[in-house]
Amino acid sequence: MNNEYLWNKTGSDQEIERLEKTLAAFRYCETVPPVSPIGDKAPVIAAGDPHARFAWRGFAFAASVAVVSIASVAWLPSTAENKEFTNARDVVFVSGPESPLADVSIEPASQDIQISEPPARRSRNGHGKINSTTASAIRGPRTKDAAPKDSVAALSDEERYAYRQLMLALSITGSKLKIVQNTIDGTQDIDDDSSKNQR
């Protein structure tokens, strides 16, 4: 037996070489390290948390809605060359938000209108009714609802078609966003149905 070959493989020893060749079938074959090491600990999302896993889709929807809204705001004025349309739009913004007398039931100008305010307030003022001209002076002209129709009517056929498509897209996107929001919050449409029934 060649001890030098046994120690550091220098020289030759047929017996040991044959043993090495025979036992080579058991030799280690390189494999991938078993652990996924230390640097991979951070980005793990819990598998049992579907809300966190799909939250990015909600953000994607919200971002797409925001982009569509900004694009519509930027696109509509540039396409509406009709002056009446811009005037009508101005009327919408001039009328502003609903006044405190928004729940006043509007009737023809010649008739008095009933104020649906608490009785205590009416008795304090000493007047159960107010003149419709006073209400209209406070509230301003009721042109808010009519303005979009007028503005749409002032558009050309192509612009009207684009406007309707845009409104439809916004409606669909809004409903889908609501579904996503309900999914994330864990609420169901049952809530909406029940609230409708209560009304």
């Binding site: 025979t22 079938a25 058991f26 030799r27 390290p33 230390i38």
Partner: protein, 191 residues
Amino acid sequence: MSNSEIARNMFLFGPESRTDAPVSIEAHLVDRARAGDRDAFDDIYRMFAPMVHGIVLARVPGDDVQDVVQEVFLAAYNKLDTLREKNAIGAWLVRIARNQAAEFYRQAHTTEELPDEITSKNNPDAEAREILAAIRSMPEAYRETLVLRLVEGMTGNEIAERTGLKPESVRVNLHRGMELLRQTLGVGGRK
């Protein structure tokens, strides 16, 4: 780091130079792995996997060896912070490998002998199994050293370096183990 670079570094940091150099390549890799360097642990794996494989092969049936090797490195990864002597990671891995092999038998793994027709002399693996069985029947110090030398193809110096044993001990174990194997298989080995 490639295997050749690892091997070159291993030779640069031999037993003699280890006392001169304050930080060996093993200790450097342990530091990096503890700091979260994935590549460093991969290098440790590539460097010591053949040695761990040999230690496990000296105890566990061949089909289960790779699984146990994986468990050894998994345990090592989880306990890396408990390693006190970073230069002695090889000896530390040897201890883990021995413990995992013992754990393998504690988990009531059963092995069945293959039929004679399968283990016939014409089967090229049959002779290898017989030689390996003869090595496994030897005392622990001999069988580990012989497996690392004859199966894994490591030299005496490499065995000493990676297991943390003294080269003199490895030399004695190799010589006596080889003599015992020759007696077991017959003078000159199997004919």
